[in-house]
Amino acid sequence: MSRIRKQSEYEKTFAYRFFRWMGGEKDAFVGNMEMRPQKEYVEEEATIEERMRDRRQAMEEVYDSGHNRELRFFNWLYRCFSIIFCIAIVAMLVLTVSYLPSVGGEDKPTNNQVSETYITDGLKDTGAVNIVTGMILSYRAFDTFGETNVLFIATCCVMIMLMVDEDKIRENKDSNDRMFEPKNDVILQVVAKLLVPMVFLFGIYIILNGHLSPGGGFSGGAMIGAGMILYVAAFGFDRMEKFFNEKVYKCVKVTALICYGCIVTYYFLTGANGLACLIPLGVPGRILSGGITLPINIFVGSEVACTMYAFYALFRRGGL
């Protein structure tokens, strides 16, 4: 067909562009993507000298290392002691482990009625086919609630450390953000466009199926968080802020944790006072089953996803 076409018409077709690209006449990235060679990090002679001088000055004037035999002796002693100490600790722990009951033995103390009950009655008690999820979210609900709060407080701590003012984020937007990587990386964007929805879907699947198959809130949430990080890395914060900014983050995080807390409170109060829990266990194996396991998985998942993304955003630009 192409033989009959005019040259100008042919130039518009996909085949023309494809063969040009094949022949190496045109690079698709030139013009579309910002490309600059990565500068090698070269340290100037003067800064190196200054650093050396500072160090020498500190050693000589502050510590007087040339004459301070006490300090040299202390440093030597410190090194010796730390090595001896580490070896001693390792030896002690290895020795202790050799005295512990052997792994997998039938008469091992951990092989008691507790683990047996988890395995035999787990499905009946919690309604979750995945016994591990049922165990951590029902039998030991309090520990897991504490663990979720560990994530929450860790984000708050990182915020104390790294959060900067809103204006400063705007100010540093271009200078800081992409020091060593190109803007609008087409390869990354194409791959992200394909992968991100799949990552999100898979994460949601893992969260919703947490009580039926391996997985649960923590792993699924981590996956969604990773998807969000990939999206931001490919498209930048401007696109991300259209659907996930600080307001949404706060909203999701606080709602998830409060709902989780309410469920747990209800569960504790009814359990301790001998009342029946009104959340139905459902038919094992159905998607809507498992009592409190499914809603808790959803809330834990959104909290973990928020936490993952918040860490990335805080480390990258000091704000969400």
Binding site: N112, C157, V254, G271
Partner: protein, 496 residues
């Protein structure tokens, strides 16, 4: 009465909820919510104390639908409830005393984060006090560690961040050792609930199985918690952490965080390992020696210090030494003395930190001693409160420190081998305490024509009122010691 049994669980959850809600609030709202929650938890704990003290029993509360050994549990007797109440009171006073400083020293955008840390610190302290499950204890030890780090580095100055890093490393080392000990204990017993572990440990010890692992486990757990509560050779993180954080944080770290770990250790000694087995292991002699060394070394470092905040911090090392020395005596009387000293030291040390900041304020935030000359005339209530705190630390009758020293010496007399070293070191430590505290008191009461302006009580009535509350608390502990020791004895007896 039935409903009171829910109060410990409710107070833990209340503290956690307030932290979550605070993250959506601005600084002012978070501050009000925090004050409300700390007071409410205090009231709930007071009700629990009333219930447990009148019945003289302890209660087990199932967290969820599955009783032990399958689910989580908390347990409360009069000692736990009283400790929770005491922690709430100290936390409220410390925060009120340093309120102005929090406003000045913390970035206003991050004030709510500070209160999140405080709320979660409260919840973790409550869990450490109430828990009946070792793994729950570990989870909340983690929260406690991170919250304490946040409290230190909220100042965002270079020294504060360095102090927080140092604290983090040491504290995580302690958590790690504690976790390894926990794993070994689980491997040997197959349980995580305290009462079940104790039953298995008793069987193991009676049959003579796992002698070495049991000893190593006890050592790991004790050393882990000792690092976190700054027992003498592991105290390197302490002076910076207390000296360069904001004053409320310093007061809470010294009087609540380290005490929470010590209370957990008491709980483990009584309810996990068993007091007899713990006494039989030679670990307590190590604790005794370290405690004695801490009493002397902490005080000598405090004497050499030229910065009032760091001096008060080093004094904490000495006081923690007292507490571990009481453990090391290996008798229940020594334990009562240690628990009393936890109360006494918490009340006094937070008073000293809060009043110390009033003194440095009238010297333009200069913490050097030379600048503090005559500061007590410029800020009368802070000077008075600092004097009361110093007298209590030295051990003058009428104040709480005297009673704890008396109890320690009474306990020491009953132990044959350890009587002499304990009494001698107590005497030396008292003299050293006197040297550095009286030096400061004389310094602040030396009249001098000063370039700094003075502050009257009316300018900051909340601060003066907080100091008054602290002084009253101190005198109550010193004057009504008999009912308090009775309560501790009763609490420890239902512990085991």
């Amino acid at each position: 009465m039935e409903i009171i049994r829910n109060f410990p669980c409710l107070s833990i959850l209340l503290a956690m909820f307030s932290a979550i809600i605070s993250s959506a609030l601005k600084g002012k709202g978070a501050r009000r919510l925090n004050t409300f929650v700390v007071s409410a938890v205090g009231a709930l704990s007071a009700c629990t104390l009333y219930l447990t003290y009148t019945t003289g029993e302890s209660y087990v509360y199932v967290m969820g639908h599955f009783p032990a050994p399958f689910g989580n549990e908390i347990r409360f007797g009069s000692l736990e409830a009283g400790m929770a109440l005491f922690f709430c009171v100290i936390m409220l006073f410390s925060l009120n005393g340093g309120r102005d400083k929090i406003r000045l020293e913390i970035d206003p955008g991050k004030e709510n984060l500070y209160y999140i840390m405080v709320d979660l610190l409260l919840s973790s302290l409550l869990v450490l006090v109430y828990t009946n499950d070792l793994f729950t204890a570990y989870v909340f030890v983690e929260i406690n560690t991170i919250a304490a780090c946040g409290l230190i580095m909220i100042m965002e100055s270079g020294r504060a961040i360095e102090a927080a890093t140092r604290y983090m490393i040491m504290s995580l080392l302690g958590s790690g050792l504690f976790l390894i000990g926990l794993c070994m204990l689980y491997d040997m017993t197959g349980h995580l609930l305290m009462s079940y572990i104790q039953a298995s440990v008793r069987d193991i010890a009676a049959e003579g199985l796992y002698v070495i692992p049991l000893l190593v486990t006890i050592a790991l757990i004790v050393v882990g918690l000792a690092i976190k509560s700054a027992l003498f050779p592991f105290h390197a993180w302490l002076p910076d952490a207390y000296g360069y954080s904001t004053v409320s944080s310093a007061a809470m770290l010294s009087s609540l965080v380290s005490k929470g770990y010590i209370f957990l250790l008491i709980k483990i000694i009584y309810r996990v390992i068993g007091f007899d087995i713990f006494v039989q292991s030679r670990i307590i002699n190590v604790l005794f020696v370290f405690g004695l060394a801490g009493m002397i070394m902490g005080s000598t470092s405090a004497i050499r210090e030229n910065d009032i905040r760091r001096m008060i911090s080093y004094s904490s090392v000495a006081q923690i030494g007292y507490i571990y020395m009481g453990f090391g005596l290996g008798s229940s009387v020594g334990m009562v003395a240690s628990v009393f000293h936890i109360l006494s030291h918490a009340a006094t040390k937070s008073l000293l930190f809060v009043s110390g900041v009033g003194l440095t304020d009238v010297a333009d935030d200069n913490k050097q001693f030379i600048e503090l000359t005559g500061a007590a005339y410029r800020n009368v209530c802070a000077g008075l409160a600092f004097t009361v705190g110093s007298l209590s630390m030295v051990g003058i009758p009428l104040f709480s420190g005297f009673i704890s020293k008396l109890l320690f010496s009474q306990a020491a007399v009953q132990s044959q081998m350890k009587m002499l070293p304990a009494l001698i070191v107590l005497a030396i430590s008292t003299i050293l305490n006197t040297i550095y505290f009286m030096k400061t008191v004389i310094r602040i009461y030396t009249p001098i024509r000063s370039k700094y302006a003075s502050v009257s009580i009316k300018e900051n009535p909340l601060y003066a009122f907080t100091l008054l509350c602290f002084i009253v608390l101190n005198i109550v502990l010193g004057m009504c010691s008999q009912p308090i020791t009775d309560w501790i004895t009763q609490g420890l007896s239902v512990f085991a």
